[in-house]
Structures are given as structure tokens and as C-alpha cells.
């Protein structure tokens, strides 16, 4: 029986394992040192906030693995012998493999700040980071102020988490606006306002210079790039993540920032593959980045690689880019490409609508000559993935999309669609006379059908 061994029990590794099990009889072993069972990393914040217990973050009950003959080993891989196809572990006996899937994900990036080894300085990625946070910042008495460094998705999650326990948060963001490296400035500004409305001490254009220790090696304060000293008991480092591949560095597996893979997710060594956050594509798809540390891409790579492992060789060819996040109360979804003001393409233009006093907004990117929809960011509005995917595939015009906006809305029933305001604004800006088209179930459920 073929031995498939997967290092890492995150979404990429587990998706691969599940799909290999569905399509083959191979012996599957998943090795992870983090937790005995797969859990949803994105849900760790809800455990700290008390919405759930850790048990709730596990998508499958514990009996699932044995029933589906997926062997689980909780151990740390020390070394890979690519010649003999063997893995050496910390505690258990070596494990042999025919095929090896490396899905070890990321680790927080620390940028060699003075004092970063102090107690109370931590990232937020692993299960153990959650346990650490519970110890470092259980409440506002122990942690009178926290400083979060890094204006990205994990940073705002950490700020929200601490805020839920009434711990005052100072949020250092290097850019002029929150997440400006990804969002058009107008969107980033909306989020600035929302963050401020929660009483977060948001410091834009500010970086961390130094972390200062106090008694017993604990954090006492941070020094910012403005030379301001901020007293705090917790420093959350959320300045991005990097592939978690240290243990591979002394093997013949080719690395750059991540593990280099071709479009079949194969490394330079036959029978060894890499997927998820730790993989770096040598043949990137469209505007995508070589390393995409996103839940969805991890899952898609797992789905794709399982086909190859099971004899149906398949290239990793993700469809239209999509992503989502939630910033305090504001839900965000994106489909296609909406580039920042700096990185906007030559032909790319943006149409922007924002609710007069609520954090609800739409930014649509379109081709300035053809009016074709290139991508859309929505805040406080849910859109239907299938419909947006179809619109992007069919190169629909922005005119068409806004007129058929009702087909795309995915907010709960009886929600305000804002379609009237949106169209009025569009018509005013572009001197057009678009009228809303009634929602069509046929179009919604068969977006590729040509029927009227």
C-alpha cells in the first residue's frame, strides 16, 4: 500500500488527506506537533473572546480520523531524508513515505527588534499563541495596556480580541492608513474610522523601534518611531507571516522564501510536494503572488494535489481571486482584483460608493475603456460568490453588474439592499441612466445559463 505522509494538520494538509482518502486506498499519516486534531486557525480569536470553546474550532469530531483511516501522529519532524524517503521525529520512531506532502504553514515574522525575546511579546498564529495570550493578557488588571504592531488582518483581530476583554489597545500601523498595502485608500480610511470608533488608540505612520523590559524579563514599554514611550504589558507582533520551513533548510529540497513548487505543486524532489502557506509558486497564476498565506488557497491546493496523488495529474489553477475578513463589526469580501491606488493598473479605474453614516461601502474596479468589471470590494455587504465568479468569467460590464446588483446580494432576507442609492450615485457620477433589473432566480442559481 502506498504510504502518503503529510506534515502539518492545517487546512491544506487536512484537505489533501480527506480528498486522498475519498479517491484512494493509500495509507495516510498526518504529523503535527501543534495539536492532536485539526482545528480552524481562523477561529482562535473566538475562543479568547468567549464566543466558543477550543473544542468548537474542530471541524470534525475526534472519531472521524480513525473511521476514515487517517493516521494522526503528534510529533515534531526534525529531519527529512529525501534519499531513503524517511522522516525523523522528536519522540517517535522514523516514518517512511512514498509520497510526502509538506503543509507546515507559516510562522509570525519578527524583525529583530531589540527586546523581542521578552516575556509578553508574542505573535498570534499557533494554538500555543492563544494559550500564551490567555496567560499574558487574561484581563485588564493583569494587562493594563497592550500594543499591537502591524496593520494587517491578524493585527486587527488581536486588537478586537483584547478590546473584548476591555484591555486598552494601542495599534501601531506603519502605513498612512490601516491595510493600505492591500486596499484602496478610501476603503482603508473607512476602516481607520471604524477602528477609532471602538476606542482603539490607532497610530498611523508609526513603527516599533524597541521593546523595553522591566522586572523578571517582562515587557514594560515600547518605544515607537516617534520616540514615544508607551507603557504596556503585552506586545502583539502581527507584522505578517513567513513560511514555516526551518527544518527543511538542510535538505536538497529547493527553497526560496518558501518551498519552491511548480504548477503541479511538486518540489524539485520526486514524490515530495508542498501546499498551503509554505509553498512558493514558480509559475504564478495571473496577478496572484507566489506565496499566498490564505485559508482558501491552502484548501484549493489540498483539493488539487489530492487529484495528482490519486493518479489524476492536475495543475494548480485557481479561479478568480476572492477573499474575506471581518474588522470588528465590518464584514469585508472581495472578488477579482481591486488594486491599491499605488498599484492600480494602467487601465484600472475605481467607482466608489459609501453609506453617508454607516460603515457600508463598495469599491468596484473596472476597465476604463471597456467598462468591464475587474473586481469589487464590499464592506458591510455580502455578495454571492457564484454570481460574482460568473460575472468576472463572462467579462460583464460594470453597468451590467450594477443594474443586476440584486442578483449578487447575499445579505439576509429583509436587509436594505442600498441598490437605489448605489445606482443614483453611479448615474450621477457617470451621467448615465441605469435602472435596477429585478432579481432573477434563474440567473442566481444558474449564473452561466444563457436563458433570459
Amino acid at each position: 500500500m502506498e504510504q502518503v505522509v503529510i506534515i502539518g494538520n492545517g487546512i491544506a494538509g487536512i484537505t489533501a488527506a480527506r480528498h486522498i482518502r475519498k479517491n484512494s486506498n493509500a495509507a495516510i499519516t498526518v504529523i503535527s506537533s501543534e495539536t492532536p486534531h485539526f482545528f480552524s486557525r481562523t477561529a482562535l480569536m473566538y475562543v479568547y473572546m468567549g464566543h466558543m470553546t477550543f473544542e468548537h474550532t474542530k471541524p470534525y469530531e475526534d472519531w472521524f480520523w480513525e473511521k476514515n483511516r487517517i493516521g494522526l501522529v503528534q510529533d515534531h519532524v526534525k529531519q527529512i531524508d529525501t534519499e531513503k524517503k524517511q522522516l525523523f521525529l522528536d519522540q517517535s520512531a522514523p516514518i517512511s513515505f512514498d509520497k510526502l506532502i509538506i503543509a507546515t504553514g507559516s510562522k509570525p515574522s519578527f524583525h529583530q527588534w531589540p527586546g523581542q525575546e521578552l516575556k509578553g511579546v508574542q505573535g498570534l498564529y499557533h494554538k500555543r499563541d492563544l494559550d500564551l495570550l490567555e496567560a499574558n493578557a487574561p484581563n485588564a488588571q493583569v494587562c493594563k495596556r497592550a500594543v499591537v504592531v502591524g496593520g494587517g488582518l491578524i493585527g486587527i483581530e488581536l486588537a478586537e480580541m483584547l478590546h473584548s476583554r476591555h484591555i486598552p489597545v494601542t495599534f501601531l500601523v506603519r502605513e498612512a492608513h490601516f491595510w493600505e498595502g492591500v486596499l484602496p485608500t478610501k476603503n482603508a480610511k473607512l476602516l481607520n474610522d471604524h477602528i477609532l470608533s471602538h476606542g482603539i488608540d490607532l497610530r498611523l505612520n508609526t513603527e516599533l523601534k524597541e521593546i523595553i523590559g522591566g522586572d523578571q524579563g517582562k515587557v514594560k514599554a515600547v518605544l515607537t518611531s516617534d520616540n514615544e514611550l508607551i507603557e504596556c504589558q503585552l506586545v502583539g507582533i502581527t507584522t505578517g507571516v513567513q513560511p514555516n520551513i526551518d527544518f527543511i533548510k538542510n535538505t536538497p529540497i529547493a527553497l526560496d522564501k518558501g518551498i519552491l513548487v511548480n504548477k503541479y505543486l511538486e518540489t524539485n524532489i520526486a514524490g515530495i510536494y508542498a501546499i498551503g502557506d509554505c509553498a512558493q509558486q514558480t509559475e504564478v497564476t495571473g496577478l496572484r503572488r507566489p506565496i499566498e498565506a490564505v485559508w482558501y488557497t491552502g484548501r484549493m491546493m489540498g483539493e488539487t494535489l489530492a487529484q495528482t496523488i490519486c493518479g489524476n495529474k492536475t495543475a494548480y489553477k485557481p479561479g478568480h481571486w476572492f477573499n474575506s475578513a471581518k474588522f470588528f463589526e465590518v464584514e469585508y469580501q472581495t472578488y477579482g482584483w481591486v488594486n491599491t491606488d499605488k498599484r492600480k493598473q494602467e487601465h484600472e479605474q475605481h467607482f466608489h460608493w459609501q453609506h453617508p453614516h454607516e460603515p457600508i461601502a463598495i469599491t468596484a474596479a473596472y476597465h476604463k475603456e471597456t467598462n468591464q468589471l475587474l473586481g469589487v470590494n464590499v464592506f458591510g455587504i455580502r455578495l454571492r460568490h457564484a454570481v460574482l465568479d460568473a460575472w468576472l468569467s463572462q467579462h460583464k460590464s460594470l453597468d451590467y453588474c450594477l443594474a443586476h446588483w440584486a442578483d449578487a446580494l447575499f445579505d439576509p432576507e429583509f436587509s436594505n439592499s442600498h441598490q437605489k442609492d448605489l445606482l443614483n450615485h453611479y448615474n450621477t457620477v457617470f451621467q448615465k441612466a441605469l435602472k435596477p433589473v429585478k432579481k432573477s432566480w434563474t440567473k442566481i442559481f444558474n449564473p452561466f445559463s444563457t436563458k433570459k
Binding site: S40, A43, E61, Y296, Y316, E329, A386, F410, P412, F414
Partner: protein
Amino acid sequence: MKQLQQLGIVLFLLGIFTFSSAIFMGTFSPTKAQLTALMTEKGISSKVFESKAVAALTNSSFNNIHSLKNALSAVVLKTNDDHRAAAKKKGISKEARKEAYGNIIYSAPKDLAFILGKASAKGLVAENSLLFFWLSFGLGIFGALLFIVPQVITEGPKGIKNNGIYKQNSTNRGFIAWGVFAYLIGFYLVLYFAPQYTIHWTLMLDPLSYALNGGPASQWFVYGFMYCVIMVVMAIRMYIKYRHVNYQILRTTSVLFFQIVFAFLIPEIMTRLQLPATDFKNAFPLDYDFFFSWNLNKLIDSGGLGLFILVWGILLTLVVVPVMVYFFGKRWYCSWVCGCGGLAETLGDPYRQHSSKSLFSWKVERWLVHGVLVFAVLMTAATLYSFFTGNTSLVGIKTQSIQNTYSFLIGAIFAGVIGTGFYPIFGNRVWCRFGCPLAAYLGFVQRFKSRFRITTNGGQCISCGNCSTYCEMGIDVRAYAQKGENIVRSSCVGCGVCSAVCPRGVLKLEQGPESGRINPTEILLGNDVSLIDLLNKK
């Protein structure tokens, strides 16, 4: 703001304390006139009872309702012994034997104690019932609102706020939750099995009862009134908590309307007009005694309106309910109209996370809920058989005893004591999920012939588990969402909270064409289009 809320809790607890201690208060000194009135009301003709009761009850003052009930029990026991002995005496005439049997008292002593106790109650509460109404109900309502309303500000801007639910004693099965559990169970046991303890509560509500139905309050009037009040107070909490989701606001308003108007006001007013009181929205088999002979006889005897109620009741179950479920899913009933659902969605909302999501629970659920449905149908079949043929038993089992078993086990214990008492520990839909025969029936329609589904939004799920955690029906919503598959489950009551708590906009309750409603998916949207097509159509 915090002090205000703390004051609210104190006032609320004071109200609960007054309400609860009313059980043990008062003295009871029945007079002969009150005894005569009791006999008239209950149709008791026995002279033996009268003389024994006058001797045992009228010259003494009872310090609590318990001893009055015991004294009454003893009198009833002795009276019946006498009559039974008389009936069994040899050599007496047929008429005398018949009379002796006719004198046996079948009324339960607890019901007699309720009537006599209420008529003869004296003491602080009985003499100041209006004051105590305000000290119990009034303080309870005011205190609860004082705690709830400031949440508009203390909980921050509108949006899902489940912060700390699993850190708090009251919502995480701590001792407060167990206390509420015990209190609710105690309350239901009193309500169903020891109504004599509700005398003071009924005295507090008598003015309202007279105003509405023209008669004194029974324990069921107290229950109906409390049901409405609790739903109103907790609906205000719902309005605040879910003020960013119109679906929740409309749904809450709807259950509130149907409870207050259909379940409470209309039946009370019909009683006042001496019409057969009925809850027009209560559908068989949830309304399990609809076909009991006393109800059928009552309806048939009350002319046009009675006949209308009979026809409407049958139509409701056979036509209206399934047709509506076809178009809207069972949510139109379970979480927009139903009284049990209404309480679960208001009072029960803080506990919705406690429903078990395990596969094992799902198995138990299917056996139990369908078992109750079968039980209800068999019981009704036997009932109708007896009604039309006049035979009191079917295959050797007395119809009456089937009915009594169902009423006790399902109607009182399961729906009431367990149904609500279990909220703080096992979640707010224990009855709806494991016991309600109507839910089982609607479930069949919803699963096999309906336009309703919860659509999963392509590949957007991040498996966080908020949806599963907050599903009150114990559906593992995430198991479907993370596979890109729509949720089409017979048990879903369509409360919409999975959609509300989802941080990524993955779930939407909606009705659409039947084709494609069930969509098992191998590869999720977002991946290679040709791969999706290849594998999903295989």
C-alpha cells in the same frame, strides 16, 4: 451604566423572591359557604363529604396550603371509602348502589385545594394582591429591563456580540445556570402537578383575568400571562442584540404578535363571549388533544363557530402547514408563529449554544422525534376510533389510558418540564428538536418537498464554527458550509442565527427553485473551473 444594570439585577431578584415566596404565604380558613360553592363547582353531591369536610375544615385555620390539601385529601379518601363500602353492601337496591357509586369523588384533591384555598386565603398577599403584583411581576419586569436596555450602549456598536458567553457562569453551565435549571423545573412541576401552590399568583392576576375573560385567574391564566411578559422582555433583548439584522427583528415581532394575540388574548376574549376558546395557530399534532372527544363534542355543540374551528384545525394541519412549508420552509411556523418556538427564541436565546452537535445526538433526535410523532398519530387513531365506534378500548388498551400517558409524558413532562427547564443546560430547543411531533411532520415536508434551503456562499467558508456553535437545533452547519453544500435539514427551524453570526457572509436563508437545492460538492468554488466541473458532475 454598570451600576444601573446591577441595580436591575437586584430588583429582578427581589421580584423573583417575592413571586416565589408567595407560594408559602397566607392562612386558609374555609367557611361552610365556600365549601358549598366548591361542591357546586365540582358537582360533588355527597352528603358524607359535606359533613366530614365541615367538621374537618371549617372550624380550623390552616397555616399553609399544604396542610389544607392534606386535610382535604383525608376527607376525600374517607368519603370514598364510605361510598365504596356502601355500594358493595349486600342486599341493597339497584338505585341505592347506583347512588353510592355516583357519590364517589373523582376530582383530584389538589384541584379541590386550589378552589377552596383560593376562596379562603387570608394574609398579607391575599389582602394586598395588587401591591404584590407590583412587587413580584412589576419589580421583575422593571429590573430585567434595567439590566437589558443599557446593553444598547454597554455592548458597543450594533453587530454580533457573543463576547464572554463561554466565560460566564450563567451562559456556560455554571452554578447560576444550574440554579435557573432547577428553578424552571420546579416552576413547571408546580404548574402541572401542584396547582394549589399557585393560589397567590392567581390572586395577583385576578383583576386582569376578570377584565379579559370575565372570570377568576387559573394557574393557566398565570402561565399565559407570564409567557407573554417574559417573551416581551426577552424580545427587547433580542431587538437590541440583533438590531443590525432585519430578519431577526421581524421574526421576533412575529412570534411576539402570535403569542400575545393568538395564544393569549383571543382565547381569553372568546371565553368572555362564552365561545369555545381556541388558539387558532396551534396545529395538531402539537395540539395533541384537538381530536379528544371532549374537544370534538365541545366544538360540535357550539354551532357555527365550533364547526369552523374544527374545519380550520383539520385544514391547518393537512393543507396550510405543508403548503406553507413548501414555499417558506418550516421556519414560517417554528420560528415565526409557534409559541414554544417563541419562548425558545426569546427567553432561550442566551442558551442556544448548548445544543449538542454530535452525530450521536442527531441519531437520538431522529429516533425520539419520529417516535413521538408515531405515538401521537397512534393515540389519535385510537381516540377517533373510540369517538366514532363508542368502544372505549382498542386491542385491549383503554383509549383513555393512552391519552393519559401521552398527556403526562409528552404534554407535561417533555414539552413543559424538560422543554423549558432544560434551556440553561441543554439548549433552548430540546422539545422542538427531540419531542415535537409537529416539527417532525414539518421536517418531512421541508426535507423532501420544499423551496427552502440555507445557501452556502461558494468557497467563502473558513470553518470557524460560529454557525454550528450557535445553531439551537444542533445542526453541524459548518459540516455543510465548509463543503460548499447547501443546508437542507429537516430539523432546521430557520431562526437565521447561523447567518447572523457568520463572520464571512457564507450563509443565507432563502427559497428558490427546487432544482439544485441539494448540491453535494466535491471541489469548492474558487478553484480551477474545469476541475470543479469534472469532479462535481461525476
